[in-house]
Amino acid sequence: MTQLLDIKGLDIALPANSQRPLAVSGMDLQLSTNEIVCVVGESGSGKSLTARAIMGLLPAPHVRVASGEILFNGEDLVKVSDDRLRALRGSEISMIFQEPMTALNPVMTIGVQIDEVFRFHQKMPSKERRARALQLLHDVQLPDPEQALKAYPHELSGGQRQRAMIAMALALDPKILIADEPTTALDVTTQAQVLKLIKEMQETHGTGVLFITHDFGVVADIADRVCVMQNGLVVETGTRDQVLRHPEHPYTKALIGAVPDLMPRPARPRSDETVLKVNALEKTYRSGGGLFGGKGREVHAADDVTFDLARGETLGIVGESGSGKSTVARCIVRLNDAEAGEILLDGVDLRPLGRAAMRPHRSKIQMVFQDPFASLNPRTRVGKIIAQGPIMYGATQQDAKARTLELLDIVGLDARAYDRYPHEFSGGQRQRIGIARALALEPDILVADEPVSALDVSIQAQILTLLDDIRERMNLSMVFITHDLRVAAQVCDRLAVMQRGKVIEVGPTAQVFADPQAEYTRQLLAAVPGKDWFSKPDAPKVVAAAG
């Protein structure tokens, strides 16, 4: 192994009026041939800017390297000319990005975009360029390379697009590949495949890979060495085993501790009382078509979905994007209208009820949403957001206010939050406000649609604990939608696994995890990143400091 990259004392300066003067400060990092170094950190840690600084792609003139060296084979990338940097980019150092849809030019074919890499770095007849592009697409295991060459980005799936990106980055066999959260936008099974591909390509070519991620599961799966960043500082570096098994810095410990255990929690006795019964639910989306368009496409988002929910239990609905899990949740709370089937709440079928008839039942079943930034009206004060439910159902102003203050306390917020606007709070705090709103009507059932997937991992743990406490305290039953099996293992008593609109497996969480019946469930479980690392039945639960 020879050293490729040596970053010494790197400072990246932010514009004058930013929250902190330096995005990255005093960073040291080394990367050698044939190794994968993971840079891990939560949002705002400066990990992505580090990657861009190496490429010379910082958003100039606002963000720039203030001091330090980035030595690539002894050449300081901070000081080299633009032309030299351009010659290195794409040939010696390549990069892939998080969102392959926006990272590819929408009006150019994949073939042309790969071809550019050859054209701008080497003299090569166009026939040979084409042959090599085809070979690349074949190497990244795209199903039909000929077709992919002619395809526009929107004609490929997310995973295929990322494969095309990888092909493009590896076109000239670069020494360094920088991967900026390349699997974050992908489904878990696709993520597993893409990670495997990156690892394989890295091994065959002996590439040095700098892999930026927030996910310790991914780190566990592919890293040789790890570099943990917090607020622009490197707090810990070491081999994968060192950092994951024996973290030294408290922040690293907290982050690793916050990674939810894939070990299902111990089963609790199940109540005999069924509060919600969903029977043969059907929902189809039609797109396209119209007056003259002929037949549109049909997507079966819910296909004969059946399950029941006992009092006090948490039922997890898990699946990848497009599985129909969110549609089911939205049908239950009657945000969407299902076409057929039953939604029995206390013996009443909610499905066919009109708006007026539905209204008396609304308070019994409430929802917690995914996006803490979109789920609160930016122009309404927190107090009103929570209190307006009770007021609509006839509570007096004083009662509603008293109830709101009580709820703020329950979800762990200060009473002063009452008069503030949502933008004054962090993501985790907003999610608490959203939970308080859902609780304000004293529901029997809480439907939580991916309530933690937009949050940093340390905040996730807090919100999950909160939801569990509340369920216990108020004797709630919960339907918990998630794509993340780790999260599901933490909070769900039972699981329903969905694929393409169908429930393919239902059972107690521990049983589904230990002995999955459906092939797809097995795939899902196998795809969970870092599954062999973070199964620590006796590890103490570390709850990180409030965020």
């Binding site: 490429m55 792609l57 351009r86 010659a87 290195l88 980019r89 794409g90 040939s91 390549s94 990069m95 990005f97 969102e99 926006t102 990272a103 590819l104 030019n105 929408p106 009006v107 150019m108 550019e116 890499v117 701008f120 770095h121 526009y152 929107h154 004609e155 990106m165 493009m168 980055a169 396209g288 007056l291 003259f292 368009g293």
Partner: protein, 328 residues
């Protein structure tokens, strides 16, 4: 399905989609005619000086004006379908013939205007966006801001004052110098000479529009992720600007070029009347003065149809530029 087949399908679909709009416009036209005070018979009677109520009733029966509205509408629709837009009693000619005489000059003016406005607009927007916050950007932005705020007719008049009356470079009005009996290239040159000032006048406003749009569009596209990808590939800045960014940035400009055709026709009424350019706009101005509503409505209908047609063409051009359109 192959690409050509999909494109053909798209064209047919867009063609079918514009039919209801055309019908709606014709219906609107009919009701506007109804809204106007007095009908053709009143106009005729006015022309004749005096007419007895009996005679007028007879005339109404003859023109079918005593029929229920729905039947009149059906007759009107049928007439329009056969390009019968009614009769101009002022000019004592069918409206369609009057219009046919005047279409060419207007089309000439529009084509030259669109070419100049879009061409220079794209160019200036590009220059401004590439030299962001330099003096070039500032100068172009100020120029666009001012021309965007100037009334067309005033620009026309001022150009006449400066370039025709004071400098004598261009004729003040008309499309050609009939007195000279030019033929062949001489005539083309003569018409081109007359075309300069009207074209500049009509282009200025739209030039400003496209400049601003192009600049904003370039800046927006320059901030997209795919630009970073292209840089990360080591592609040159020129290629990034003129191939990656430009192609995406042109899309909204093409859309806008279609949307603005309607406004352009409106502008031509003013410009043609300022320069006495013998096109549809001038005809509309004359119709307005002689209160010839039949003619005015005919021009209105035709210009609306022209917009529908141009939009259709623009959409088809757009579909060749943006591959994503075929999905929807």
């Amino acid at each position: 399905m192959s690409l050509t087949a999909r494109r053909a399908r798209y064209v047919v679909k867009r063609l079918l989609q514009s039919i209801p709009i055309v019908i709606a416009i014709v219906v609107l036209n009919f009701f506007l005619l109804q809204l106007a005070e007095g009908d053709a018979v009143d106009v005729l009677a006015g022309e004749a000086g005096s007419a007895t109520p009996e005679y007028m009733a007879e005339l109404r029966a003859k023109f079918g004006l005593d029929q229920p509205l729905s039947i009149q509408l059906a007759v009107y629709l049928k007439n329009v379908m056969f390009l019968d837009l009614g009769y101009s009693f002022r000019h004592e000619m069918p409206v369609s013939e009057l219009i046919a005489d005047r279409v060419l000059p207007t089309v000439l003016l529009m084509v030259s205007t669109i070419t100049i406005a879009v061409g220079f607009g794209v160019f200036l927007g590009l220059v401004a966006a590439m030299g962001l916050n330099t003096w070039r950007d500032t100068a172009i932005s100020i120029f666009a801001l001012i021309t965007y705020a100037t009334p067309l007719f005033w620009v026309g008049l001022m150009l006449i004052v400066v370039f025709s009356l004071n400098l004598g470079w261009f004729p003040t009005s008309g499309m050609e110098n009939f007195a000279m009996f030019y033929e062949g290239w001489d005539r083309v040159w003569d018409i081109a000479h007359h075309l300069v000032l009207p074209t500049i006048t009509l282009s200025l406003f739209y030039l400003a529009l496209y400049t601003r749009l192009m600049r904003a569009s370039m800046l927006e596209q320059a901030g997209q992720d795919y630009v970073t990808t292209a840089r990360a590939k080591g592609v040159t800045e020129n290629r990034i600007m003129f191939v990656h960014v430009l192609r995406n940035a042109l899309l909204p400009v093409v859309t806008m070029a279609g949307v603005q055709v309607g406004a352009l026709i409106g502008g031509s009424v003013i410009v043609e009347s300022v320069f006495a350019w013998p096109g549809l706009g001038m005809l509309a101005f004359e119709a307005l003065f002689s209160r010839d509503l039949n003619l005015l409505l005919g021009i209105f209908l035709l210009s609306a149809l022209l917009v529908v047609a141009v939009n259709l063409v623009v959409d088809i051009v757009y579909s060749t530029l943006d591959p994503r359109i075929e999905v929807n």
